[in-house]
Amino acid sequence: MEQILKVEGLCRDYGKGTVTHAVDHVDFSVEKGEFVGIMGPSGSGKTTLLNCISTIDTPTAGHIWVEGRDITTLKQKGLSRFRRERLGFVFQDCNLLDTLTAYENIALALTIRKTPAQKVDALVRETAQLLEITDCLNKYPYQMSGGQQQRTAAARAIVTEPALVLADEPTGALDSKSARLLLERFELMNQLRQATILMVTHDAFTASYCHRILFLQDGSLFAQVERGNQDRKDFFRQIIGVVTQLGGDQSDVL
């Protein structure tokens, strides 16, 4: 299998004097077509790790390769280019541009990559169909539900066929029904489009949609579980098991 992401000895420290090791020597890799979750309690460094991979933050030490290219050596201009051409994002909030319709939000990801105007429409509609948001394409974000907004963000993330889709707590602000719908769409994106997804969450239910889960605590990876052939419910139980076994804060995980 082709390796999409490889992280090696990644560190990110904050502050002078008393240094916080937000991310502390993390190593892992993600293969093409995988749906990987990163779990951990609040403050364990999940967002920091994801920000380093998405080049929004710069690591203190270590390397990150995406499709074999070391992105820690990229300069400002190269970073922007890399981000718009190879990555797709879904964040917890602050996702869509409130002045643009859903359609335009998705199209924007294409226009900033200089996709020819005549190709835009077909790509946007096809992706919107996959995420079941065809009905609200002409709506503004404030006219849509939280779930529809997140699915629009997901559509924007994959419409450019990026090498890697990064999602930071995408279900964080959603009710359970919308969360389920979004996660099912993530699964579809992964299956039908072979989208490689790296999703951060502190929620075991959300995590149970992934193929593989990395557990993070105090900035370090300390466990990993794979779904294999189990169904989602069993996988969910296994995740809960790991979390309790390793002494994580239950209330924080659930």
């Binding site: 400002q76 994002f89 900033i112 200089k114």
Partner: protein, 590 residues
């Protein structure tokens, strides 16, 4: 800790609130320049030539205007500091939450305001002193006033007045700050930035219709102006002004929607780079800005109109002095009894003004009346006139009276009035002085009056100076006001869209592209009102020229040049400061 915080904040506020600083500095500068008129070469020239009263009147008028200008500037600076406080309310809330007392936070703000204001005041005054000299040289050149060697002068009363005026404004600002901090609830301060303006979606089709209606109204107003002229102030005049203003309002209200619709119909243009985002952004902001854009457009129109007309009119009047009087001196006296003889030359000589010495050419003669009551001039007097000044002015004189030339020594004619006409020899200033002294009392007449070319020229110049200074003063104040309001609006919009630019940055839009998008938005906000104001002004000036052309010729090139220069300096300065400030705000957010 407190002083450190204040100093740090001041340093930052210089960088972040350039527009606030610029407005205070420009305001101070303007205020000083026009309160220090006594340092102007033209004003000095006028007062050294028996025109102290006129100078006094000019200064009084400017003084009254200064009160008006003070109110405008006070409003502007309060508005600017309101923006400043709004931008900082979250930070202030944090201080409060960290346990700082309200009075401490207020004191922090006051310290910042005081230091910022003092520096702006100093910079403004320095700028004012320099600009005052530049204006002096410019106007002296305009009026062809002989410039004695360059004299650098500072007006202490004006300095004092400016400082007092602005200390007053700063006290108002401080009161305002104290009031804001004490009144606001902590939760509001903390939440301030989260409150986003509500996005109202309006039908784009409606925008297109409104835009066309606005344009139609403008065309009607223009047509009325051009056919009716500028000076017929009656019911229809106000209808015209109303149509023009309403047209302008609708134009701005619907422009963004119209543009959006237009571009959306061209997919290639719309789905290119950030075009879609820029247009949407512009459209979203227009709901909050179209009113101020209208006001700004009209203010700009006033500024352009006033400046251009005052400079243009000014050059026109300049050509009028020569036409009004031909000789350097014209003295007319009426005899006590009709028909009596007056020797004006001898009377003047007795008064200390010897025509033989002081004049290069002179003549004195009576204007007669024959039995039929017709005015007459003797052939010999006419000949003397012609030999002194030539055929043309002599005939013009005859024509002005409808007089006929008669031969002989004046038998059967009655002398109605006696003329003394002369051109000075030597130093005209000295001769004028002597003449004015001698003409102060001429004995044995039934009344007399005199005009000298110098006094006419001086009076005309006084009027011109008045028009020019008032025009420039008001013009520049309106210009600064419009530019400052625009700049502040754009900056607060940049702060409001910080979140959007953050999303763009994450999506991989390069800093260069984001900067360009900001610049285009600021450019649209500055350029659109200016463009429409220019169109208004061109139409208005065409109508105004028709009026001025009756009085004289307008020097369109000079007035356009001065107007353009002022526009570029003030408006351009604010434009650049706004681009810079907006980019800064957005870069900090990304």
């Amino acid at each position: 800790m407190f002083s450190k915080l204040a100093v740090k904040n001041v340093g930052r506020s210089f960088r972040d609130y350039g527009v606030y600083f610029l407005t205070v500095a420009f305001g101070v500068c303007l205020f000083y320049v026009f309160n220090a008129l006594e340092t102007q070469t033209v004003i000095r020239y006028l007062s050294s030539h028996q025109r102290q009263e006129l100078v006094g009147a000019i200064q009084q008028l400017i003084g009254v205007l200064s009160v008006f200008v003070w109110f405008v500037l006070a409003f502007l600076i309060l508005y600017a500091s309101g923006f400043l406080v709004r931008r900082r309310s979250r930070e202030m809330g944090t201080y409060l939450m960290l346990g700082m007392e309200r009075w401490q936070v207020a004191r922090l703000l006051l310290a910042e305001t005081a230091v910022t204001a003092l520096v702006a005041l100093a910079v403004g005054l320095a700028l004012g002193v320099v600009l005052s000299q530049a204006l002096s040289v410019f106007t002296a050149g305009l009026f062809a006033v002989p410039q004695t060697e360059f004299q650098f002068s500072v007006s202490l009363p004006a300095l004092l007045r400016t400082i007092l005026a602005f200390v007053g404004i700063f006290l108002l600002v401080m009161l305002y700050h104290a009031f804001t901090v004490s009144r606001r609830k902590l939760i509001d301060l903390l939440r301030a930035r989260r409150v986003n303006q509500e996005l109202k979606v309006r039908s784009l089709g409606m925008s297109v219709v409104l835009f066309l209606v606005g344009c139609a109204l403008l065309v009607v107003a223009y047509a009325m102006l051009l056919t009716r002229g500028l000076l017929r102030v009656d019911g229809l005049f106000w209808v015209m002004i109303g149509l023009g203003s309403l047209g302008t309002l609708l134009f701005f209200r619907a422009l963004s929607g119209f543009l959006l619709r237009l571009c959306q119909s061209n997919k290639k243009l719309y789905y290119k780079n950030l075009n879609m985002f820029i247009l949407r952004q512009f459209n979203a902001s227009i709901n909050t800005t179209y009113r101020s854009m209208t006001v700004i457009c009209l203010m700009l129109l006033l500024a352009i109109g006033i400046t251009a007309t005052s400079v243009g009119l000014n050059n026109t009047v300049s050509q009028m002095a020569d036409q009004t009087i031909f000789q350097d001196v014209e003295l007319v006296a009426w005899p006590e009894e009709e028909g009596d003889t007056l020797d004006l030359a001898a009377a003047l000589e007795a008064g200390g003004f010897d025509p033989e010495q002081q004049c290069s050419s002179w003549t004195t003669f009576p204007l007669y009346q024959n039995e039929a009551g017709e005015p007459c001039l003797l052939q010999q007097d006419y000949d003397a006139y012609v030999s002194a000044w030539g055929q043309e002015p002599a005939d013009a004189f005859l024509e002005s009276w409808g007089a006929r030339i008669v031969d002989g020594e004046g038998a059967g004619l009655t002398a109605l009035r006696w003329y003394f006409l002369a051109d000075y020899a030597g130093d005209p200033n000295e001769a004028e002085q002597l003449f004015l002294q001698a003409a102060g009392y001429i004995p044995d007449t039934g009344g007399y009056q005199y005009t000298t070319k110098q006094s006419i020229w001086m009076d005309l110049m006084g009027t011109k100076v008045l028009v020019l200074f008032i025009g420039l003063y008001l013009g520049v104040v309106f210009l600064v006001a419009s530019a400052a309001v625009l700049a502040l609006q754009q900056l607060s919009q940049a702060a409001d869209s910080a979140g959007r630019y953050q999303v763009l940055s994450r999506l991989g839009v390069s800093e260069k592209m984001r900067g360009r998008s900001v610049d285009i938005q600021v450019f649209l906000a500055f350029f659109l009102p200016l463009a429409l104001a220019l169109v208004h002004a061109v139409v208005g000036m065409t109508a105004a020229n028709a009026v001025i052309a009756e009085v004289g010729r307008v020097d369109a090139a000079a007035s356009s040049a001065v107007t353009a220069l002022l526009l570029v300096a003030v408006y351009g300065g604010y434009f650049l400061a706004t681009c810079w400030g907006s980019r800064r705000i957005l870069r900090a957010a990304a």
